[in-house]
């Protein structure tokens, strides 16, 4: 594998950072704030009307009652929240470390690895963790396996954005800070990090969206989440159950991305 990866590696490394760089947005219009929640509420209302007007058999009733859906939703949120917090705790300090002068020699290699890593399919990573955990350790540790897979994948965008964010800070500003007698740590915490917050946040938002999406697939390794409603619908061949699970998943992902977008606007340091 390494030999076949080698020729492609520089290309992947040179591949653009475009999907993660934050969109320079002008002030958002009121319409764009209001549209998404209304749209999602309408989708949910439509789904509710559709399902409640169907004759549900016992299998469908078991999958589509409020208790089961709430439980699946909570499992999903838990998977997403835990893995995203872990990603932040790992990726940002690592990104800071890797932009310090003494780690310069590892930087290129790591960024290349991170870029190639993004070509690994999430479902493959999840399946590998699941198959490994379930067949070797012989106990059901689906949730742990899922979280490890989610974190391993979503670390990349945050790590990369942290490094890019810190590196794009104007050297002369740092110089000015040092000139004012601020120490190394002060320069990092009071100048570099605040100035890279928008880019880091964009990476965190990407990681969050990836985690919500991949958590859907976690159902395949017994880790629960909204995906298990879809899987239940697939295995019993009930289209209503499949559609309900899929729509709820889509609504949740769009809602979380919407909220993350607002958080991005609010958390951005004033003056930037």
């Amino acid at each position: 594998m390494t030999s076949s990866a080698a020729p492609g590696a520089p290309d992947l490394a040179a591949a653009p950072q475009a999907p993660i760089a934050p969109v320079r947005r002008e002030r958002r219009s009121v319409g764009s704030y209001v549209f998404m929640p209304i749209f999602l509420a309408l989708v949910c209302a439509g789904l509710y009307l559709y399902v409640s007007n169907q004759e549900l058999d016992t299998i469908e009733q078991r999958a589509l009652n409020a208790g089961n859906i709430t439980a699946a939703l909570l499992e999903h949120l838990r998977l997403t929240a835990i893995s995203t917090v872990l990603v932040i705790l790992i990726a940002i300090p690592l990104g800071v470390l890797l932009t310090r002068p003494f780690t310069g020699s590892y930087r290129g290699v790591l960024l290349t690895l991170a870029n190639i890593g993004q070509a690994v399919p999430t479902i493959g990573l999840l399946a590998l963790m699941g198959v490994g955990a379930l067949s070797f350790i012989d106990i059901d540790i689906g949730v742990t396996a899922a979280i490890i897979a989610l974190v391993a994948y979503a670390v990349l965008p945050v790590l990369r954005n942290t490094m890019v964010g810190l590196q794009q800070v104007d050297e002369s500003i740092l110089e000015a800070g040092r000139g004012m007698g601020i120490g190394k740590f002060g320069v990092l915490s009071r100048i570099e990090l605040p100035l890279s917050v928008p880019i880091i946040l964009a990476g965190v938002r990407t990681a969050l969206v990836i985690n919500v999406g991949t958590a859907t697939l976690a159902a395949y390794i017994n880790a629960g989440g909204l995906g298990r409603i879809i899987v239940a619908g697939l295995s019993t061949n009930r289209i209503t159950v499949q559609i309900t699970g899929a729509l709820l998943t889509a609504v949740l992902a769009l809602l979380i991305d919407y909220l993350a977008g607002i958080a991005e606007d609010v958390l951005r340091p004033k003056g930037l």
Partner: protein
């Protein structure tokens, strides 16, 4: 480890065939995304509202989890390759649209102005000046799209789509048997190889199609 290589040897024909299917699926979707994405970019880059809407809508496509979108395609398109191609095309739009808009907006206005002075019309300026100058940026977007789609295509096996996803899901269905891990790992490696092939191919194509004056 040797067991894994035995497995690769045994399933060699399968792996190649499934790989070609995977490439075919992604190739068509990338073409569609590029055609539609460049069209959307060209029609919206001049005015602020349409531009914002185009980016917001194609951005939300990418937010919808692939598992959900593939399932939502079933009532409309059935199962197999068609729903996967439609879903992949939707996922591939954002990088192309965004880079088309960025690329076109970065074209030096003085250049466009002089083309106007030479008597070129609106369409001529777009086709002969603006698009060729924006092309390297657009190709970059297409490469991102290809990388994203190669990975998502693996999930398409859920709705009976072809490609290396079938290996991964076969492996998941056989948890506990020794074949499971071989199936999953070979599926993953297959996806990575396809990703590298696509990226290299598109890099070369991009070079070849970029106007010589700006290389």
């Amino acid at each position: 480890m040797s067991e894994f290589f035995d497995f690769l040897g045994r399933r060699y024909d399968d792996l190649i065939e499934v790989g070609l299917e995977h490439m075919y699926l992604v190739g068509i979707s990338v073409l569609l995304s590029t055609a539609i994405g460049v069209f959307i970019g060209v029609t919206t880059y001049r005015t602020e509202r349409p531009r914002e809407i185009a980016l917001a809508v194609t951005g939300s496509f990418l937010t919808i989890p692939s598992f959900a979108l593939f399932i939502l395609m079933i009532p409309i398109m059935g199962i197999g390759a068609p729903p996967v191609i439609v879903a992949l095309t939707m996922y591939g739009l954002l990088p192309v649209v965004r880079n088309t808009i960025t690329g076109l907006r970065e074209v030096d206005q003085a250049t466009v102005e002089s083309a106007k002075g030479m008597g070129m019309g609106r369409t001529q300026r777009l086709v002969r000046i603006e698009l060729p100058l924006a092309w390297p940026v657009i190709v970059t977007g297409v490469r991102v799209t290809a990388l994203v789609l190669v990975g998502i295509a693996a999930v398409g096996a859920i709705v009976d789509g072809p490609g290396y996803g079938t290996f991964i899901f076969d492996g998941l269905a056989r948890v506990g048997s020794p074949a499971a891990i071989n199936l999953v790992v070979s599926g993953m490696l297959g996806v990575i190889v396809v990703a590298i092939l696509f990226d290299t191919l598109l890099a070369v194509l991009g070079k070849l199609t970029t106007s010589r004056g700006i290389q």
